[in-house]
Structure formats: C-alpha cells, structure tokens
Amino acid sequence: MTSEKDIRTAVESILHRTLPSLRVVRIEASEIIDTSGDESLDVKVVVRERPSRELARRTADVVDQLRTWLAERQDERFPYFHLTTEREEAELAQMGE
C-alpha cells in the first residue's frame, strides 16, 4: 500500500500539471471503507476558490492520472477525490454544531 504522504505528494504533482492555476491550501488523503465495503481513499483538496466550470472538468483527468499512479504501485484502492474551499469547510462545521 502506498503511504498517505506519498499520495499527497502525487496529487500535488498531478494538480500542478493538470490544473496549474488552482490555488491549493492543503491536501488530505486517508483510507476509508466505501459504501461497497471496499478499501478506498478519500482525497480532499482544499483550494482558495473553486475552479471555473471549464477547469473543473479537468478534475476527471486528475482522477484518471491518480488511478494510474496508484495502479503502477499495485494499489487498486479507488480514490474518491473532492475539491472544497475553506468557506465550505466552515459551512459544514457549522451544520454539525
């Protein structure tokens, strides 16, 4: 299994290539069990602001490249990839209160 640190580094590199204008605040990667019962990855990228509709389309390519990077390391966990902002994080925290 690839380490969470290596996954974060890989995501950073893929984002730099695919969405260079994205202003990344931080990247989180953690193992989860998805609703199918499979070991999976939760990959959260916190950005200053969400990308435009056109740029957001490229996140599908980010996931594709991340899956290739994982497969090359015999890691078949599916990465659930999310972009979010600090504002949305605050909104979610408020909902939980």
Binding site: R50, A60, D64, T68, F81
Partner: protein
C-alpha cells in the same frame, strides 16, 4: 426517461432557494439525481446499442439488466489504467480509452455520493458539492457519448456480462 431532464431538475432545485442556506433534503436529492441521470443514460445506451427499436420489450429487459453494485465494481476495474491483470488478459489491451475511463470513475464517485445522500443520516452536503455533482454527471454523459463505438460496445458488454473465470 431523458437523463438531461433529471439534471435540469437537480439544477433547478439547487437554484430555487431564494434566501438562506438550501435545505439538506433538497441538496441530497440533487446529489442523488445527478447519479441517477448518469445511471439512466447508461441503461438507455445499453438498450439502444443491443436491441433494435422494433423490439420494445427486449429493450425494456436490457434497460433493467444492470444493478448498481456490480456495475460500480466493474467500473472500478474498467476505469483503471492499466486495468487489473485479469481484464488485461481477457481484453488483450491495458486500458479502455480516456472517455470510458472518465465515465467509469465518475460513475463510481457519483454512486458513492448517492449512497451517502440517500442512506447516511449524518452526511452533510453543500450547495457547491451538489452543483459539482450535477456538472460531473453531465460531463460523464458527454464522455460516454463521445467514446468510439467499438470501445463503448465492448465496455457495455463487460458491464452486462463481466468475465467468466
């Protein structure tokens, strides 16, 4: 059912709030509808690919042939580049074209979101995530349509029948 209409419905629901934060029930239903639009597009594509229009009842049977869980598992495999060894050996190539892979990954992702929206009482969804899901579904529908016919037919056959071991 026209999948585009499901996406319109989801978009209108998210946008219809006039003041304050949208209700979770509305956002969850939008997230769920984004997945169902993609699922129905897939079912329609299968039915129309394999059954002529004149054989309506046969089309209905093909339309109902997929179940959610097995389809997600097969999408996880078909969306990987390179695919798992068993799929590579069977198909004789390393991976499906990019459009199919993007469709597969969006399908897995949106089904997970739908499961959280419909069955996880603790799950919270923001308006931005609901809108993102609607756009991702629309993009994935475009990807399925844009894939070359031979690859798409092979992929749909795999979803229907899997591989005999």
């Amino acid at each position: 059912m026209n999948p585009e209409h499901l996406l319109e419905l989801a978009t209108n629901e998210v946008a219809s709030q006039t003041s304050g934060a949208p209700r979770q029930a509305v956002l969850r239903r939008s997230g769920s509808s984004a997945y169902y639009a993609l699922f129905h597009q897939l079912l329609w594509t299968i039915a129309t690919t394999f059954v002529p229009a004149a054989h309506w009842k046969a089309r209905v049977l093909f339309y109902r042939a997929l179940d959610h869980g097995r389809t997600k598992q097969r999408c996880k495999h078909a969306g990987q580049d390179p695919m798992p060894k068993a799929e590579q050996l069977f198909f004789g190539f390393e991976s499906f074209p990019l459009e199919i892979r993007r469709f597969c990954n969006a399908f897995s992702d949106l089904q997970e979101l739908r499961n959280r929206c419909d069955y996880d009482p603790e799950y919270k969804i923001t308006k931005d995530v609901a809108l993102y899901a609607i756009n991702a579904s629309s993009d994935a529908i475009d990807d399925l349509k844009a894939a070359d016919e031979a690859s798409r037919t092979l992929f749909l056959s795999y979803l229907l029948f899997g591989m005999r071991s």
